[in-house]
Symmetry: C2
Subunit: 389 residues, 2 copies
């Protein structure tokens, strides 16, 4: 029987172009902020999971577990890097969850970190593409924006949806990010700006893509015993945590729009947490491209297939709407430092459940879900959290 697991600390750096900070500095800044927020001594941490995808390729640096532990002043702890492409952060959180649930660890930190802006853009694109199959897909020149463009076009044609409706997801995210101090883009954009931005891979426009950025986010997880010894005012419980994979490459899936694996991950997390879709008060979806945000709403069960974008254009993703989603800006505007993203998503849920989401606050938010994808949803991490007090 798995033990109960709580989140008692959260911290992050602003996402952006951090020319003055290295990868380790970002990670340590976020980690120590989370420790401070938890009101504990960093010496209490027993294990550290670092979610990161590209440090080997972009910084020539692996062994981030020992590196971050050393620079955070906690050498000695159990530590490793967890990699699952863009889902590295969400999957690292799942490992931290398991470590506490097993009863072997009482206090575990997870930090997601990625530093992307001090590499050549072409190198970043190549490094991101290592999330797909190098031997069968990447060598053809396929990039992630190209693969998602195929999905997007198929979706628009199959369901007869106007691109403007899907693209509105970006408008929503930018609006939500304005008041978020961690966000990379704290400014609103209009639908006209999105639709007239450069075409990247037909039909995807520049402003439909999540940006490249640097950042780190950290969370402190603990057991019930630890919580008794270290009381905290703002406690969130992890009530569901699941990871699933899909056939890696889109071209090998029977139906590119089929989301059975994603659906299974969502169902597993809901079964474990004993919540129904309508119990979810706040949602974080993996909008690396607008189309993924819309698909996520549908697969999770908030709209029939082909109708997810209606929720967007009708304002149902805003606080007070049917399902407040990406209320602090999502990947599109809060930012998408790859290996950190899954941790930022959970941090944003934690802020909502604590009532600390500022102008984006959802009133009486009690249950939140974060969904994190690796590749074209080749890996899916779903975590469900609940406010305790």
């Amino acid at each position: 029987m798995a033990g109960r697991v709580y989140v008692i600390g959260a911290g992050a750096t602003k996402i952006g172009e951090h020319w003055d900070k290295s990868l380790r500095e970002l990670a340590v800044e976020a980690l120590l902020a989370a420790v401070k927020d938890a009101g504990i001594s960093k010496k209490e941490i027993e294990a550290l999971y670092v979610g990161n995808m590209m440090s080997g390729q972009l910084q020539g640096q692996e062994h981030l577990g020992a590196l971050v532990a050393t620079w955070a002043g906690i050498p000695g702890v159990a530590a490793c890097k967890v990699e699952a492409a863009c889902a590295s952060g969400g999957v690292a959180f799942h490992q931290a969850y398991l470590a506490v649930a097993s009863g072997l660890y009482d206090c575990v930190a997870v930090v997601g970190v990625e530093k992307m802006t001090d590499a050549l853009p072409s190198d970043v694109t190549a490094a991101l593409a290592t999330a797909e199959d190098q031997e069968y897909v990447v060598f053809t020149g396929a990039s992630f924006v190209g693969l998602n463009a195929l999905l997007y076009r198929l979706y628009l044609e199959k369901y007869g949806v106007k691109q403007e409706n899907v693209a509105s997801f970006a408008v929503h995210c930018h609006k939500m990010a304005v008041a978020n101090p961690y966000a990379q883009f704290r400014r609103a954009v209009s639908l006209e700006e999105v639709m007239s931005s450069p075409l990247i891979a037909d039909p995807i426009r520049l402003l439909e893509c999540a940006p490249v950025g640097d950042g780190a986010a950290a969370l402190i997880l603990c057991s019930e015993d630890f919580l008794k010894r270290n009381p905290h005012d703002e406690i969130v419980e992890v009530i569901g945590s699941s990871v699933a994979t899909n056939v890696l490459s889109v071209h090998e899936r029977k139906d590119p729009l089929d989301a059975a694996a994603f659906r299974r991950a969502v169902e597993a997390a809901m079964r474990m947490s004993r919540v129904e879709v309508n119990d979810i008060d706040v949602l974080e979806v993996h909008d690396a491209f607008t189309i993924l945000g819309v698909l996520s709403l549908e697969v999770t069960g908030f709209a029939p297939r082909g109708e997810g974008s209606r929720l967007v254009v009708e304002g149902e993703l805003e606080p007070g709407g049917k399902i407040p989603t990406n209320t602090l800006g999502g990947l599109k505007a809060r930012g998408h430092p790859v290996g950190a993203t899954g941790v930022y998503q959970i941090l944003d849920v934690v802020l909502q459940l604590r009532g600390k989401a500022g102008p984006s606050q959802v009133s009486e938010a009690e249950i939140g879900m974060a969904q994190n994808f690796g590749g074209v949803a080749g890996t899916i991490a779903v975590n469900v959290l609940k406010r305790v007090r």
Copy 2:
């Protein structure tokens, strides 16, 4: 309270230069061999941990969790890559252990894999060096053999030990590998050959270094419930599992020969498994260089500091000796495909506990320990296993 965890399947590829097999093929071959050995259907696997260090740098391939799951025919499972430099395999095993111990998973696979021989040797050396601190150490030109040479020289001077005695560790490993069908080097070498082999980094000789190679090893772990539903003739229990880190860089440690972190990892695993050092029947140490093998014997408690090499020259590491060590060849002769090594070590312990170690069999072996290092023991994974029947 952590649940009990058993190993019911083990499989591996031979280690060597696999020009005809790609990384994914090696991983799938080992994984399916372990599944077959467990006597289960691969559909029973719920989670997959891939231990690997360098696939991003050497193959341009990340997202190994979903890739290996897809190619093994088990897409859907929870999966990720675990990286902790050369300790990736041992740490991945620890995560698999936690996953089952948590009660969330009943059947979990771990596969360690590395493919090193189809990259340029200079690229492999550079990729290995990403286990050290890129910004403060690696950019100076330091390599792992150089860093270990510093330790080695200090050790010889501090304890007045003859290099021949330490170098004998390589002779022992080669002798043990002769009958191991998985081993990279199935031939004996003499001390004269070791001592007259080229000097790589003074005082380390070529034949004191673990080789570069390709390989994959896999293990199937399961819960008590799963075992009841899927009885097996040869069962090994994981009775202790720990991971610890040290200050990453040798030059930042107060004493380069201090092994406090390593000692803590060993003690944690022994405390958890309730075994004393003299209860250990078979030992796997991380002999990336002969000096590390000797230091490991001392830190684990089989000899006072400075006297570990006596055990080697007196034959105490052989079956029938005081502490049978690296009985299937160790890193030196079985081979050291980096991210796979920690899993090969545990597999070798499992073979001994099952009585399937061939001419290297230790009679009535009941308890075995595997020690896996990342970097210059910047990360240490220690796993203790016990024969059930």
